[in-house]
């Protein structure tokens, strides 16, 4: 009976829970699903992290390669983030080039990297106008159950924090690059942005960390990205039903709390790796 109700009238089903201030999976409106982080899973990547947010699973691998800087920005390297939603992660995605959602997610991640300056592109320059690093940040969803943006940001940040690059010097005589794999150094992470996403139900009810079903039934989505100094790096609301300034403030407040959780998680996991070594 309940199962029939759920599939026949999904919206009413969700409303019946929201009326009682809870959600079908037992969470409160402002409660995140359990978040799990695992770093360094992929040995072929220069840095990697796997994040699980409830069922949603995101893996991020960083690959660093060498290239020439552009004429416009001779002192800067590149950061190239791409989010992929392969048909493997949900039946809603079909094979072929990235769809709108994947592209929008890629742009969102690119904007966050740019806005927060997680990594300064100047740090990636090896020889001005001659040689620089390009960091390919490839993010892939393995299980799509909503709120991939939050999971992507955690995965990206954790992967970047574990990334180690070999030392590269430019040979003065041959002006060819030389790589020394013995000497590796970590990336300089300037800021730690954390993303928190919300859905709006029936034009007014705000819920945090929506599942795939909640996302599809909601009337608007909103993502707040905040760094450790309480600066906002993004307030991304791609349309949908309108929100007042007061409601936005509620979201920002929830983000402030969440950001602490994630910072602690990343710190602790990285520390555990160090002690394990």
């Amino acid at each position: 009976m309940a199962a029939g109700f759920k599939t026949a009238e999904p919206l009413e089903y969700h409303r019946s829970f929201l009326k009682e201030n809870c959600r079908p999976d037992g969470r409160e409106l402002s409660e995140f699903r359990s978040t799990t982080l695992n770093i360094g899973s992929i040995s072929t990547a220069d840095g990697s992290a796997l994040v699980k947010l409830g069922n949603t699973t995101i893996i991020c691998g960083i690959k660093a390669e060498l290239t020439n800087p552009t004429v416009d920005a001779p002192g800067k390297g590149y950061i190239v983030p791409n989010v992929d939603l392969p048909p493997l992660c949900s039946s809603r995605f079909r094979p072929g080039p990235p769809g709108e959602q994947a592209q929008a997610a890629s742009q969102f991640i690119a904007d966050i990297i740019e806005s927060s300056e997680v990594i300064k592109k100047e740090d990636l320059c090896i020889g001005r106008g001659k040689l620089c690093w390009v960091l390919y940040c490839d993010i892939m969803c393995l299980d799509y159950d909503g709120n991939i943006l939050d999971a992507c940001v955690v995965a990206l940040l954790a992967a970047l924090k574990t990334t180690q690059l070999p030392e590269v010097t430019i040979n003065k005589e041959t002006s060819a690059p030389e790589v020394n794999f013995e000497k590796k150094h970590k990336l300089n992470i300037h800021r730690h942005p954390v993303s928190v996403s919300f859905c709006i139900f029936d034009d007014s009810i705000l819920i945090v960390d929506p599942t795939a079903e909640e996302e599809s039934l909601s009337t608007a989505r909103l993502t707040v990205v905040m760094d450790e100094e309480d600066q906002l790096c993004s307030l991304h609301k791609p349309g949908g039903t309108p929100l007042s300034g007061e409601k936005l403030q509620e979201c920002i407040k929830r983000a402030t709390a969440r950001k602490g959780e994630i910072h602690k998680l990343i710190e602790k996991v990285i520390k555990s790796m160090k002690t394990a070594q």
């Binding site: 799990t36 982080l37 360094g40 796997l50 409830g54 407040k253 555990s272 790796m273």
Partner: protein
């Protein structure tokens, strides 16, 4: 989206009108529609209105490596974008037959006719040349897109200025317009396309067909020519057979039209130059027709700003009443893995994937088995700090294959010891 079908009534009427040398908009057989050329704010941005047909061309450039077989020549690239805005039947991102045809014709008309000095676009031979890109956007299709596009493209090329560059050793410096005046392209001549529509197997001929005329025509002849009456390209389509006389007549008409249009373009370029020199505005707001009732302009306005910051902080204060909630501490079951929040979902992948770094550290061949067990822990196992073997458990979450041919596993006695060691090591780590 589908185009509205053409009714038999329209078809019959059009053909009968053509026989009587009448056209829908009152034009004569050899009349061109009203041609209007305007420029955008940028250099190299040109709008062409041909009756109701509207196109926009924008020229841009960037420094690229030259083609291998032409190391001292710049590159010209043309693209006509058939935007769905222009017609409901144009689809986004689909290379339609029409789009291929128009792009080919534009290339033949402007690139193959060598109207632009590409050698002057070379910066460092074999290394850096300017690639000049012409994007033509169709905005409204009321027939004869080709002629409108060719006029827009050549006018935009004439209007365009590229940044000045300086070469010092290997360094190439690109100057902004503020530092050094940008440089116009050197245009040798101006090819312009003129289209002729044929009806009744070539019996009747119309210049500059509109959209409805295009839909009933039997064939099309496009002649690209410059004002020196040099034919740059000639192309017929639709499978009609034309007599030599017909083609000659068309080329004569084309030469008249081309000289008129060239004159118009030159005048438009001169006017724009004068306007820019006078420091006048040449933006879009300026080109908006003020007399139409569908258009309205509003001057710069001030926004009343009192209370804005108060409102801002008011909102923040309102939201700030409750104390911030405490941050829960994450659980770290094994190195490299952490979790916050209640475990609502059963766990899957990540335990198995974790700790490749550790593996690398430890993988020295000898403790292969230990390493394997470590990866295979599932959450439940971790909590209980128990390592499960294939043989003896009901609730095991994990299955491990021990390679039986390895020396270690052959020695079945030592195997359990090793397992035990792995397990205890696990515990220590926790």
């Amino acid at each position: 989206m589908k185009e509205t079908p053409l009714s038999n009534c329209e078809r019959d009427f059009l053909l009968r009108a053509i026989e009587e040398k009448k056209r829908l908009d009152g034009r004569q057989t050899y009349d061109y529609r009203k041609l209007k050329i305007t420029f955008g704010t940028d250099y190299g941005c040109c709008f062409v209105d041909l009756g109701q047909t509207r196109v926009m061309a924008q020229v841009s450039c960037e420094l690229v490596a030259p083609k291998e077989n032409r190391p001292t020549e710049g590159i010209l690239f043309f693209n006509i974008e058939l935007s769905p805005m222009a017609s409901p039947s144009f689809e986004q991102g689909r290379q339609s037959e029409l789009s291929v045809k128009l792009n080919r014709q534009l290339e033949r008309c402007l690139r193959n006719s060598k109207c632009i000095d590409t050698e002057s676009l070379c910066v460092v031979s074999g290394e850096k040349v300017w690639q000049v890109r012409v994007d033509v956007h169709t905005l409204n299709n009321d027939g004869n897109l080709m002629d409108a596009a060719s006029v827009a493209a050549i006018t935009a090329l004439c209007h365009f200025r590229r940044p000045d560059v300086a070469i010092q050793g290997e360094e190439v410096t690109v100057f902004s317009p503020e530092e050094r005046d940008p440089i116009p392209l050197s245009v040798y001549h101006m090819p312009i396309s003129v289209s002729f529509a044929f009806f009744q197997q070539g019996t009747f001929l119309l210049v500059d067909p509109c959209e409805r005329e295009e839909r009933v025509m039997d064939g099309l002849l496009m002649i690209a020519m410059n004002k020196h009456r040099e034919i740059c390209s000639i192309q017929s389509s639709g499978g009609i057979m034309l007599l030599k006389d017909q083609v000659m007549r068309c080329s004569k008409i084309a030469s008249v039209k081309v000289s008129e249009i060239t004159e118009l373009i030159s005048q438009a370029l001169l006017n724009d130059k004068a306007a820019r020199k006078a420091g006048g505005k040449c933006g879009f707001a300026e080109s908006m027709p003020q007399d139409r009732i569908t258009a309205l302009k509003m001057d710069q306005t001030d926004v009343e700003m009192t209370n804005v910051s108060q409102t801002g902080s008011g909102v923040i204060l309102q939201g700030d009443e409750a104390p911030p909630p405490t941050v829960p501490s994450p659980v770290v079951p094994v190195p490299g893995v952490g979790q916050v929040g209640q475990g609502l979902q059963s766990w899957g992948l990540e335990e198995e994937e974790e700790d490749d770094d550790d593996e690398e550290e430890e993988s020295s061949g000898d403790d292969q088995v230990e390493e394997v067990t470590q990866i295979k822990l599932s959450e439940k196992d971790k909590k209980e700090a128990a390592v499960v073997e294939i043989s003896d458990s009901e609730e095991e979450e994990v299955v491990i294959l021990y390679p039986e041919t390895t020396e270690k596993s052959k020695n079945s006695g030592s195997r359990s010891d090793q397992k035990g060691a792995a397990a205890s090591k696990k515990r220590q780590k926790k």
